[in-house]
């Protein structure tokens, strides 16, 4: 059933892209970015998943050739990615708040002083 | 794109230039060209008609009394203010002004462009013993029909005054006021209603214009 994970993550990423491209509200854009991030996180976690594997927590003595566990590296990567995603969301939300203060709107079609 | 001048340019390259090589070769002006003014002071009667008709205000005169009490008149033409329209020459009854074909009119020093002439205008004596110098000189200078006008129509009805100033023949005069309008010195006053013809002798310069213009030849000099 791991394919379902891949399809889901693909769907999430595309949904994120779709939201960013088509929604003209800044908050929705930020949501789209988060959704896209979650899709990638799901993809990473799924890649490291081994059906039936245990958690990769061992002491040095327990680690043998026969140990069967999920790949720990993607989990570490996901952790990093989640942290980064949270930072990005926080940052973009703070920018959105400041933009709403100075532009008085959240419509991207009106926030286009820089163009050409 | 087309270049209509290609043929032109090539053919001109090998033909003689059409330049007027002026400073090296003299280049006479056209016969009727109106250039530098020549003034003949000896015929001038100081009627100032030229000054009145000059559009550019180029003609001026100064007069100084000499010891005999005569006026020494200097008439000057400022070429730098002249439009070379020839009106002064046209209006000059004595033909003292002439526009020549000379076009070399370059002023560097002050006065280079001033054409002037000086003549003596005899003071008017009340009982005039003889005609004024200027009208007398005129026929001698000008050989032609022009001076004939003042002399020919002298009618017996009224005697000439002898000092060159006009006298009216009331029998012929119709008080049309042409003479008054044409008088350069504004010496004549004519009233059509009252039938008055009056001459201010102090203003009259004895130019003869009135006699020239009179349609009825009612003025004698």
């Amino acid at each position: 059933m791991i394919q379902f994970n891949y399809i889901c993550s693909f769907f999430l990423i595309v949904l994120g892209f779709y939201t960013i491209v088509t929604k003209y509200n800044l908050v929705k854009t930020v949501i789209g970015m988060s959704v896209m991030d979650y899709g990638v996180n799901l993809l990473i976690i799924s890649i490291g998943y081994n059906p039936g594997g245990t958690a990769p927590i061992f002491t040095a003595g327990e680690l043998t050739r026969a140990s069967y566990f999920v790949d720990p590296i993607p989990q570490a990567l996901t952790l990093t990615s989640i942290v980064i995603g949270a930072c990005v969301t926080a940052m973009s939300m703070s920018l959105v708040i400041r933009m709403h203060e100075s532009y008085g709107t959240l419509d991207t079609r009106e926030i286009r002083r820089l163009r050409g | 794109m087309d270049f209509p001048f290609v043929k032109e340019a090539v053919s001109k390259l090998f033909s003689k230039p059409s330049c007027n090589m002026y400073p090296f070769v003299e280049s006479p002006a056209a016969p009727n060209y109106r250039g530098r003014i020549v003034f003949h002071p000896e015929t001038c009667i100081n009627c100032n008609m030229c000054e009145r008709v000059c559009a550019g205000g180029a003609i001026t005169h100064t007069s100084v009394k000499n010891e005999d009490g005569d006026d020494v008149v200097t008439r000057s033409f400022d070429l730098g203010s002249c439009t070379f329209c020839n009106t002064c020459a046209d209006f000059c009854t004595r033909h003292s002004i002439e526009l020549t074909t000379d076009y070399h009119m370059i002023g560097i020093e002050e006065g280079d462009l001033i054409v002037s002439g000086t003549f003596v205008k005899k003071a008017i004596k009340k009982p005039a013993p003889k005609p004024a110098a200027a009208p007398a000189a005129a026929p001698a200078k000008k050989e032609g029909a022009a001076p004939a006008a003042p002399e020919a129509p002298a009618a017996p009805a009224v005697q000439p005054r002898g000092d060159g100033k006009p006298a009216q023949d009331p029998s012929k005069c119709v008080y049309c006021t042409i003479c008054a309008r044409k008088c350069p010195g504004e010496a004549l006053t004519v009233d059509r209603k009252e039938k008055i013809w009056k001459l201010d002798e102090d203003k009259c310069v004895a130019c003869g214009t009135c006699a020239d213009v009179c349609p009825k030849n009612a003025i004698v000099l």
């Binding site: 990423i13 994120g16 892209f17 960013i20 491209v21 088509t22 929604k23 003209y24 800044l26 854009t29 970015m33 896209m36 991030d37 990638v40 993809l43 990473i44 890649i47 790949d71 590296i73 993607p74 990567l77 990093t80 990615s81 980064i84 930072c87 990005v88 940052m91 973009s92 920018l95 959105v96 400041r98 933009m99 100075s102 532009y103 991207t108 079609r109 926030i111 286009r112 002083r113 820089l114 163009r115 050409g116 | -």
Partner: protein
Amino acid sequence: MNFANMTDYHHFPIYAIMVLFLGAFIIAASGGKPSKNPNNPAGFRAWIALIATAASLCFLIALIRPVMLGGEVIAYWMGSRGISGGYAIGIALEVDALSLFFALLIATAVFVSAVYSIRYMVHDDCVPQYYVLYCLLAGGVLGLVLSGDIFNMFVMVEILTFAAVALTAFRTKVYGALEAAFKYLVVGCMGSTAILTGVIMLYAQYHTLNLAQLASLIPGTMNNATKLAFAFLYIGFSTKAFIVPFHPLAADAHGAAPASISVLISGVLTKSGIYGIMRLTYFLFQTMGLGRMQFMLVFIGSVSMFVCVTMALAQHDFKRLLAYHSISQIGYVLAAYHAMNHTLFKGLLFLAAGAVLHETGTTDLGKLGGLSKKMPHTTVLFLIGAFSISGVPPFNGFASKWMIYQASYQKAVDTGNIGFLLVTVIALVTSTLTLASFVKVSQSVFFGQLPKEYENVKEVPFGMRLAMGILAALCVVTGLFPKSVTALLTEPAAKAAANVGSYITSMGFKTSLPAVEVSFVEAGVWEPINWLLILCIALLAVTIVAVAGKYDRVSETTSENVETKYQLFYGGEENVYSQVGGGDLFWGFKHNWRHYFDFMHKLHSGVVNDYALWAVVALALAIVYMMIAL
């Protein structure tokens, strides 16, 4: 490897990175209270940042001898955890000539910009925080280029994107700063996500994140997933390099950011993207068919060159114009090794723009003018930068562009591919257009009439001039000694880029890739020193004659009205302000291209959704190209 000695140069790469992060930490820990000194509101924190960047630069310079000249590849395993069972377990720094080349550029730009910042940022508040972000940005980029681990590259990309976005929005009062930062954040985030996706796809295939190991594993095991990964990585790094179609972000970000940060965005951030793309094409995916890939890069480069230079011609703002030029030059960088010169002259130009902004408070080309009388040094420095970027002979831009023309035409002839010929032509024409737009800038900003409100403008402080002077001197020197510079820096970097085998083996992995011999064939000749010598003799001769012949006969004036005499001639009018400049200076050119310009203007709509759409489309196209062509 012996790590007993702490001054062993093998430690230097990590020192170079850590010193910057440490600087960021100390500045952040010292609190945000501004100092009382009006000339340096950040107080000692500015000096910390300066020392950190200088130290980092010194560490990297010390590496020139072993890496550039000795040809060594430094492999540094964090915590001495190296390879176990044929797999890289630890996190590695790998410094070969290519990495060091970029690292040196970055460290130089960062150092110069730090020197500049001290006096430049006096008008701002929250300057201590500025230095925190500054050091983070510098450390992030340096970490990216020195890293030997692809996931670390991603982390560093995120750090630098984050710092760069924050710095872009740093002057929140500046027109459009928030907007620019947000656009950059959205598209940059999409790029980072693409990088992460690419990384994870590679990991899923090869179960390693080490660059060298990936390089040794990928050849021969090419499949669609690898191609997909490459497409994702390529798009991710091109958002960092701002190449077409991501150039509007660069224009926005450069225009809004403080000039010292524009230098970093242009000279450092874009280089990180370029570095990423180079690493990918030449290292990981070399066996995918280098020719096709090069063709794609060169194509994108040419499009970037031309589109951005024409966009620059239409700009009304000094910094936006420079931003578009920056990307236009990145096009050259993609096509060949133009990177070093790009960092130098672009940095110089942005610093000059910053100097103008610092003194006058605007960068609008239509409002400025005649500053050369008030700011002569800045003008000279700007002109050096402008000549360099337009490739006027004795300066460095010419040397590298000249190599580009030779190389691309040689390539066209060798491969018989007429596309490369087109590249040569586009590159040459673009260079003239670049010159045109810098003529526009010099006419609009530095020459012409001085507006009334700038009567009291002064020359910028010495610190800022010093920073510009360093870059200008480097521009001149690298232009005059192109062969030495090539031998010292560029050639090792180029060789290292092509020579994957030794990179892999020095990391302790096995590879079947043969060592590639890179040779530089020059079809033409160019000896700048001799040329300059002749020019100098000629100029000297002319000048002597001129001076002896009282060339400047000002003393002989006989006019009473000296004032009116030395006024400008306006058809006799009084001296009114009448400056010819601004965006429409090259009407004759733009009129013929008006449909193109109208189209481009509509295309660059400024709506963030459109830019995101471009990113998605670019990703889709990249995937399609990879699947079909490779």
